[in-house]
């Protein structure tokens, strides 16, 4: 993913889902480092920490404890420092409401997590391909 020296930030509370993303990235030989936090609040803390490097892409789960994905998006899009950061939602939810709210908050994509691992790999492959070609504002 472009730029290759920047990390990918995964905001995900489920340990196995994190393993799935990590394994898929590895399987696809994605060189970017994977950082992960367990909820929106931790993600904001990470992103506002000057010692941390800003990610090239955020993969965001919606249903999380403490601060869920939509709440995170609201906070991030209201923050001039964070609002341009590309976010791809990676969720179980097929709810129309979640999709509408996500895009209203300017997400770059909305992917449903499949139950089948191989399909999951395909989704990550597509995200990687896209963000390898796409330019980012940062």
């Amino acid at each position: 993913m472009n730029p290759i020296n920047k990390p990918i930030l995964l905001i995900e509370d489920d340990q196995v889902d994190t393993m799935v993303v990590r394994r898929a990235l590895k399987e696809l030989h994605v060189a970017n480092r994977l950082e992960y936090v367990e909820n929106g609040e931790e993600a904001l803390a990470y992103l506002r920490d000057p010692a941390r490097e800003h990610p090239c892409l955020i993969l965001l789960d919606l249903n999380m404890p403490v601060m869920n994905g939509i709440e995170f998006l609201q906070a991030a899009k209201a923050d001039p420092e964070l609002k341009r950061m590309p976010v791809v939602v990676l969720t179980t939810s097929d709810e129309q409401k979640d999709k509408v709210e996500s895009f209203e908050l300017g997400v770059a994509g909305y992917m449903r997590k499949p139950v089948d691992y191989q399909q999951f790999v395909e989704i990550i492959r597509t995200i990687d391909a896209y963000w390898t070609i796409s330019e980012s504002p940062a």
Binding site: D14, V16, T92, E95, Q118
Partner: protein, 492 residues
């Protein structure tokens, strides 16, 4: 009397006067024998002048009244005085032909006990009086049979009249009500500030008080909700104005409204809960399921060398069941989502729609799907009807067991609705399963043989019924099934 009329009378006698009189005149002696009758009397009673002279006064009244009339005549003879019309006596005349008529009689005593009687036929006046009485009775009966209590007050707010229902509902008697000040009735049951304000302030200005609702604890009766309507009845000429109050007892209606509101609220919250439930299911059941699927996949991949054939087979079955459960959860979600979002009805070309559906299902080569020619373009919720047709055709394809499969799709105009049919020559369904197959998660085959979530027909039923239609199946086991559904033309 003027000079002119004197002149007229000078030239004529009394006979002439009687002959030209329009009213019937008779002269009788003290014993009631008729001495003289004028032409008007002949016309009224139907006797000739000669016949009259053989009659008594009693012959001119009905038999039943004769005896008492003799006494009255005798009494009159002792104290003869002029008696004018309408002296409170009910008098009936008898004609020669037996016909009777309501009459009024003026009596003028003459000399020697003789009497001049002028007889008036008052049949028409009586009829008018009876009609008036009937009209009044009719009006009173309406007032009394009205379901709503009503009461009329005078300018001093005293009760002028009230109907029976008023007495019944508010447990009052006529004696303790009529003439009393309304606000002092029965433990001052009506002494309600809002009502006083309406009568004293609103009504004098507006003539008709706005109907208002009043909940009040009536002493000895209990809590009632009444809709009170007040209006001023304008008094004719010098009559004073009256106030008419009607009371609609809406206690029960209010109770039902409250009950209905409560039920609607319950239903809404149940619906909301269900929606949330579906949402929770999608997240909370799917996340662990996905983890199981991924982990099983990795064991199968990473531990391939260490697993024997049986272990690998078990893992394969495990992953298959994970997918099945994933399908079931998706089915629940799809099922629960129906009807939450209503589409707009659009023009749907059935030929086009069916070709799209059949293309997307890609039926295998041995199955022929035939669409009846000349299907109409209809107005319908496109996604809904597409889903229904897709599920029915997909089922037909999935279960077809014949080497030459045939599926026929038709739609006929039933006037108020369209009736669709999807017929196949598949295995057929026994009649005892006709209801069950439309229920959620009900399948007739072991899931390992035909992969099915048991949601398809339940979704069909839910969509069709939400569009105001019906769905049913006809089948001959071994030969095939035909699924029918109707779609109302004006449900949108």
């Amino acid at each position: 009397m003027t000079i002119g009329t004197q002149d007229i009378l000078i030239k004529h006698n009394a006979r002439w006067l009687m002959d030209i009189a329009a009213d019937a005149m008779l002269i009788a002696d003290a014993d009631g024998r008729i001495l003289l009758a004028n032409p008007a009397a002949e016309r009224l009673f139907g006797y000739t002048r000669d016949e009259f002279t053989g009659l008594t006064v009693e012959d001119l009244i009905p038999r039943s009244l004769r005896a008492s009339h003799g006494d009255k005549r005798a009494a009159y003879a002792t104290q003869p005085n002029s008696r004018t019309m309408g002296a409170e006596l009910e008098i009936v005349g008898l004609r020669r032909d037996g016909g009777e008529f309501a009459a009024d009689v003026s009596l003028s005593p003459l000399e020697k006990g003789q009497v001049l009687a002028t007889v008036y036929d008052i049949t028409r006046r009586k009829q008018a009086e009876q009609a008036l009485a009937a009209a009044q009775e009719f009006a009173e009966s309406i007032v009394d049979t009205m379901q709503e209590p009503l009461v009329v007050l005078d300018a001093d707010e005293r009760v002028v009249s009230a109907n029976q229902v008023f007495y019944q509902v508010f447990q009052l008697t006529e004696e303790e009500t009529l003439g009393q000040v309304f606000f002092e009735l029965h433990q001052r049951q009506w002494d309600i500030p809002a009502l006083r304000q309406m009568l004293d302030e609103v009504l004098p200005q507006e003539r008709r008080g706005k109907a208002f609702e009043l909940q009040h604890e009536f002493p000895g009766i209990g809590s009632r909700t009444v809709l009170i309507d007040a209006r001023v009845i304008e008094g004719k000429s010098d009559q004073p104005n009256l106030t008419l109050l009607t009371f609609l007892n809406i206690t029960e209606r209010k109770r039902l409204e409250a009950e209905q509101a409560r039920m609607i609220h319950e239903l809404e919250s149940a619906n909301e809960e269900l929606k949330n439930f579906a949402y929770v299911v999608s997240h909370d059941l799917k996340a662990p399921l996905r983890a199981i699927g991924s982990l099983a996949d990795w064991i199968a991949a990473d531990q391939q060398d260490r697993l024997d054939e049986e272990g690998q087979e078990h893992l394969r079955l495990l992953i298959q069941r994970v997918r099945r459960m994933d399908g079931l959860i998706d089915g629940v979600l799809r099922y629960s989502r129906i009807g939450r979002i209503h589409e707009v009805a659009v023009a749907v070309d059935l030929n086009e729609l069916l070709h799209e559906v059949i293309d997307s299902l890609a039926p295998p080569a041995h199955i022929t799907v035939m669409v009846a020619s000349g299907l109409p373009a209809i107005r319908a919720e496109k996604t809904a009807i597409q889903q229904v047709l897709q599920n029915l055709i997909a089922n037909a394809i999935r279960y077809l067991d014949k080497p030459q499969g045939r599926i026929e799709i038709d739609c006929i105009d039933q006037g108020q609705s369209w009736r669709f049919s999807v017929a196949d020559n598949g295995p057929g369904i026994e009649a005892r399963h006709f209801e069950r197959i439309f229920q959620l998660f009900q399948t007739l085959n072991p899931r390992d043989r035909v992969e099915s979530t048991g949601v398809g027909l339940a979704i069909v039923k839910k969509i069709v019924e939400q569009c105001g239609g019906q769905v049913w199946v006809e089948s001959t086991p071994g030969q095939g099934s035909t699924f029918f559904f109707t779609l109302s033309k004006n449900s949108q």
